[in-house]
């Protein structure tokens, strides 16, 4: 059973546009939500994360919006650059030091 769902599976935007990647989850006890970025041939790396006590987290051009009531979150990438082309994974954790449940990933392509 997929506990974390992502949409769309793939997205293409033009350079300078805002890319929006969506994520939803089933388990209301999840309280930590990281997004990982993965380039071809590499392992995933943490991009940005949010805990359920917050509804927004910003880091430069990357912003997470979190809706606890609807169990949804989204990653917004403003002023998208070709270097942002990668696969993005939404994940969720219950508590701390526990295991992560990953979504299936979303492939973002930014065209120049």
């Amino acid at each position: 059973q997929q506990q974390v769902r992502q949409s769309p599976q793939s997205l293409t935007v033009w350079e300078g546009e805002t890319a929006i990647l969506n994520c939803s989850y089933e388990d209301s006890t999840f309280n930590y939500f990281p997004w990982y970025q993965q380039f071809p041939g590499e392992g995933p790396a943490l991009l940005i994360s949010i805990r359920s006590v917050s509804d927004k987290k910003e880091d430069g051009r990357f912003t997470i919006f979190f809706n606890k009531r609807e169990k949804k979150l989204s990653l917004h990438i403003t002023d998208s650059q070709p270097g942002d082309s990668a696969t993005y994974f939404c994940a969720a954790m219950r508590g701390t030091g526990s295991k992560l449940s990953f979504g299936k990933g979303a492939k973002l392509t930014v065209s120049p």
């Binding site: 392992g43 995933p44 030091g97 295991k99």
Partner: protein
């Protein structure tokens, strides 16, 4: 910067053979994880460990064993490899008590082909 290394980076195995994938981390992290990544499935947790001598089953442990002989090393063992275990395997480490709480640091992956 956390450093996680994996060996081998590429492996071709025969059906029924034994395969050992190795992972080493030099950051003194307590937790280590093994995932596999397949198209359409994302990252799925196979086994994980909270420290030397401990191993825990993840979400898809069948057909895999794990060994954590030391803080630094975590191995994934396929006793009888099958073609369905063809995949890319990632090791990760993390320290929930550290400054970067709950961040997992991934290795570069091992591409396994079982013929």
């Amino acid at each position: 910067e956390a450093a996680v290394t994996q060996s081998p980076r590429n492996k071709v195995a025969v059906t029924g053979g034994k395969v050992t994938l190795s992972c080493n981390q030099t950051n003194n992290h307590n937790n280590m994880y093994w995932y596999r990544q397949d198209t359409g499935h994302g990252l799925r947790l196979i086994h994980y460990s909270y420290g030397a001598g401990s191993t825990e089953k993840g979400d898809i442990p069948d057909g895999y064993k794990a060994s954590r002989p030391s803080q630094e090393n975590f191995s994934l063992i396929l006793e009888l490899a099958t073609p369905s275990q063809t995949s890319v395997y990632f090791c990760a480490s993390g320290d929930p008590t550290g400054q970067c709480q709950d961040t997992q640091y991934f290795g570069p992956g091992t591409r396994l082909l079982v013929l």
